[in-house]
Symmetry: C2
């Protein structure tokens, strides 16, 4: 398998964690987002959105990090990234989608460039923007986690899964941009538990070959 | 089952289609987004994001439309909304997530209000904004559909599924805001095939009890 990745892309970071949790080796191909390598015709040919990540496996190219992770979970079931029971699976996916749909695409590099280039936002305004969507989403996630008996050492029970895979890169982004994480003690407690696991630690942006 | 819905929410529209395809009856509870009923404490108690839709079933409340649809597919397997083979499932989820992650959350009511209230965008600027993200995503989806032998009468083969469920409400939004759909003949051909199906037709915003 080959993963087209960028060290600081949180969508790629998710897939790196999933691959590590599954114990799968892969060839990492760095695509430098700030140098716009994602818009090269050769990359667009495998990912028409020009977004990171893409996984190629068995002659297929899969874009969208959560499509990749569900694929990995279906083709390599152990250890599972989703619990077996449908309500529990829905709970885990709901938390994952709060991040993957309602936080991250509003704050990624593509969006920040658009806000700067088209709407003229300066760096301070971009930070306000990013914090706004993180705080909105984090408040909901903290409630979903803190109010549920299903929350364990990780977002769901005592083994890490899809929700944790989305949570850790989003908290990394939050720290980078200076979000106050004090209102989210359950989230940060779970993040600390994740960081103790080699699968999460090895996927960290600073540990990637293309880190700057 | 009870679905908290709003006639013009495209995320709720997706779930209505899925419920209809499965032949499941449900109680529709209208939550009026423009009157901010989604922010009432009673609704926030079942959906801490204050977003539509929520499905309640067997004492559980599920937020996030795609988490609901995967749940429905797991608990009511016939007819399936995802194909059986993992690469095919990944393809369908990829198309669905292009819409659910990279178009819709950038253009929903929550975002448009933010752009208007915080950044002072006027109606023309809001339309430019919406079109931009739709055109970006539609170009990718058209390529994914037109270039693949897996595309049939619907996004994947000859039965409607998760990708079609996301596509139809997004094209409804595109028409409402005046996007030129001529560059996307595969998408509009599939949308027309969907509209012939009673499950899609009955889920249309204008056919809902809370339609204005």
């Amino acid at each position: 398998m080959r993963l087209y990745t960028y060290y600081r892309s949180s969508a790629a970071y998710r897939v790196r964690i999933a691959l590590n949790l599954k114990g799968l080796s892969y060839e990492a191909v760095a695509v430098h987002l700030r140098k716009n390598e994602q818009n090269a015709a050769a990359y667009r040919a495998i990912n028409p959105q020009g977004l990171i990540p893409t996984l190629t496996a068995d002659g297929h190219a899969i874009g969208q990090s959560l499509a990749i992770i569900e694929y990995l979970d279906e083709t390599h079931p152990e250890p599972p990234l989703l619990p077996p029971e449908p309500h529990a699976r829905a709970r885990v996916r709901q938390i994952a989608y709060v991040i993957a749909c309602d936080i991250h695409p509003l704050n990624n590099l593509r969006m920040l460039r658009h806000l700067k280039d088209r709407l003229g936002l300066d760096d301070d305004a971009l930070t306000v923007w990013q914090h706004h969507w993180m705080v909105e989403g984090f408040a909901a996630i903290e409630t979903l986690l803190a109010d549920s008996p299903d929350t364990g050492r990780f977002c769901h029970g005592d083994t890490p899964g899809l929700a944790d895979i989305c949570l850790v890169p989003q908290i990394y982004n939050a720290r980078r941009t200076g979000v106050d994480l004090a209102p989210y003690p359950t989230m940060t407690r779970i993040e600390a538990a994740c960081q103790e696991r080699p699968a999460f630690a090895a996927a960290h942006p600073t540990r990637q070959p293309d880190a700057e």
